[in-house]
């Protein structure tokens, strides 16, 4: 089997035992990128020489007898919101075109230390705002299952890179579903850890109370290994949780749901959901029952208010966070002809540097925070956030995990929702409650929809710091489905 088809765990073991070198593994992925990325456009930046140099360094350390982590020598692609000192970091925006950060994100630094090889930076919706990767200033990314469709978003470059076998692992960020939704629509695994479980230091901020770094992989165990490699307390992030990383790798290996209580969220289904998505989801629930889980229906009545609350809270935080792009200290500056004031240059630069969705959200947030509207919008949304947290608390008294479809539909055609913000926002209907409450959730493949033959994701939600339950249930579902399908779902994707 070619190196690019192997799992990250297998690649790590091959490199550690010196059966294969990290250089060979890296070169195989660089070749794949050269072969297919012209059509997929997952990457904004690839540095082959730098990647090979990192790989050579890993091979030398292993040859010298150094004991490295389980992913040493395994390539990874970073969503282009994590700062990297040796590569440009753009957040998919013209306002940061060509910017080289003076420091590494904690996620970047920890993966370097663990010996992972950075292949490059992946495309995204500008500042991680979107559900299709169409909002990037650097072109759209295509879904490897059907190049005329979106790869999800905002981490669509990262999902496409992994599902197209350009990288075995990638990083993403999940503010309203930006890891789970792209994973679902490209037939791979994506995990949103507990908020505060993974560091935001060096992550370009969108909505600070929601942004959560997490892993993409082609199977549950690989996702757990990457999760473990970059997680844990970080004194440089004041919202980082000072607690041990949940035993995610052990849980992924355990893959057993016997006796677990699984709640089906009653509010997610019905109108607006594609029949093929609901059919695959219902099969996954029956599968869990057949594996010994006790399945009950659970009502979370305020979840239907999560989407409106999110589209007040996230834009409010974004309008504040993106004020830092002022054309003074870094990034783009437009119109500084010696006659204009700083304020005029700032407004011209931001108008030229931000795309339409970012402008919409900045103005929406500015509106929601305005005096006279604050109580009715932002204040009210914060109360809804409390109610959603209470719904989760009540649900987790009855069950160990909650399940739902990850997305209401499969990957939609590129362009279909591009200028219809409300239609686009519906893609995150099922993922947003978890961001507002800060708990953990994973998306794992659960089959192909009959209508279009495209992947469907099963979402598994667990309480705060019970991330291991997501991996335990996800791995059990994956194992049972793969034995039924005769291999991973991704092996049924058309050849690129």
């Amino acid at each position: 089997m070619s190196l690019i088809r192997k799992t990250a765990a297998e690649l790590g073991a091959l490199v550690a035992s010196r059966e294969v070198t990290a250089v060979e593994v890296t070169q195989a992925h660089l070749d794949r990128i050269a072969e297919v990325d012209g059509r997929v456009n997952a990457f904004l930046h690839v540095d082959a020489e730098a990647a090979l140099a990192q790989a050579r360094a890993v091979d030398e350390r292993i040859a010298a007898g150094e004991k490295l982590g389980p992913l040493a020598g395994v390539p990874v692609a970073h969503k282009d919101v994590f700062t990297t000192t040796d590569m440009p970091t753009t957040a998919g925006s013209k306002i940061l075109e060509g910017w080289r950060p003076p420091y590494d994100a904690t996620v970047t630094r920890r993966l370097r230390e663990a010996g992972l090889v950075i292949l490059g930076k992946t495309n995204l919706d500008e500042f991680a705002m979107g559900s299709s990767t169409e909002n990037s200033a650097y072109g759209v990314t295509h879904n490897p299952w059907d190049l005329s469709r979106i790869p999800g978003g905002s981490s669509g470059g990262s999902s496409a890179a992994v599902s197209a076998y350009e990288a075995p692992l990638s990083t993403g960020t999940d503010t309203g579903g930006s890891i789970r939704q792209p994973a679902a629509v490209t037939g791979i695994v994506g995990m949103k850890p507990t908020y505060g479980g993974s560091s935001r230091y060096g992550l370009i901020a969108f909505a600070s109370s929601l942004d959560t770094p997490g892993p993409f992989a082609r199977n549950v165990l690989d996702a757990a290994l990457l999760h473990e490699a970059f997680s844990g307390h970080d004194p440089l992030d004041s919202t980082s949780i000072d607690a041990p990383v949940p035993p995610v790798v052990e849980a992924a290996r355990q893959a057993d749901v016997a006796g677990m209580r699984v709640g089906v969220v009653k509010e997610f289904g019905g109108e607006g959901y594609q029949p093929g998505v609901l059919a695959r989801f219902n099969e996954a629930v029956e599968l869990l029952e057949s594996l010994g889980a006790k399945v009950v229906e659970v009502s979370c009545p305020t979840f239907s208010y999560a989407l409106p609350a999110y589209y007040l809270i996230a834009p409010s935080e974004c309008s504040s966070n993106l004020a830092r792009f002022d054309a003074m200290r870094y990034g783009l500056r437009v119109g500084d002809d010696g006659t204009r004031s700083a304020e005029e240059v700032m407004a011209l630069t931001r108008a030229a540097g931000f795309g339409p969705e970012v402008k919409r959200r900045i103005m929406l947030g500015t509106y929601a925070l305005s005096s006279g509207y604050y109580d009715a919008y932002y204040g009210q949304a914060q109360k809804v956030r409390t109610l959603i947290m209470r719904d989760f608390e009540a649900a987790f008294q009855q069950v160990d995990v909650l399940v739902s479809p990850t997305t209401p539909t499969t990957a939609f055609p590129i362009g279909e929702r591009a200028d219809d913000p409300m239609a686009m926002y519906l893609a995150d209907l099922c993922t947003i409650p978890t961001n507002l409450a800060g708990n953990a959730a994973i998306s794992v493949p659960c089959g192909l929809a009959d209508e279009d033959g495209l992947p469907v994701g099963l979402q598994v939600m667990a309480p705060v710091l019970a991330d291991d339950r997501c991996y335990r249930v996800g791995a059990a579902v994956e194992k049972a489905f793969e034995s039924r399908w005769g291999g991973p779902l991704l092996s049924r994707a058309p050849a690129l």
């Binding site: 305020t302 208010y305 200290r329 004031s341 700083a342 507002l436 409450a437």
Partner: protein, 99 residues
């Protein structure tokens, strides 16, 4: 709730430091009006006795040891600056002619 008018978008754009073109004002007014109309549903739930949550984690006053550690060098801090002069950020004038 009041509808979002073109004038209101112009005001929001000024507050947001976005120099929008005329056609953008019309386009955004229609879209923002639709979005605000949809998100106003938050007023249907959450009575006065519900406390607001700004954050999912109950964290307050997080400190780390006040140790001296390396920071950015002047070159690092200025490395992405649009314009530099004498180890400083060079910026357009901040005050008006008459001030």
């Amino acid at each position: 709730m009041s509808a979002i008018t073109r004038d209101e978008v112009a005001h929001l754009a000024r507050l947001s430091r976005l120099a929008l073109a005329d056609d953008e004002l019309d386009h955004f007014a229609a879209q923002l009006d639709q979005i605000v109309g949809a998100v106003a549903r938050v007023s249907e739930v959450a009575a006065d006795d519900i406390p607001p949550s700004s954050h999912a984690l109950p964290l307050t006053n997080v400190f780390r040891p006040d140790d001296v550690r390396p920071g950015l060098t002047p070159e690092g801090a200025l490395s992405g600056a649009p314009a530099v002069e004498d180890d400083r950020f060079r910026v357009p004038r901040i005050l008006g002619e008459e001030e």
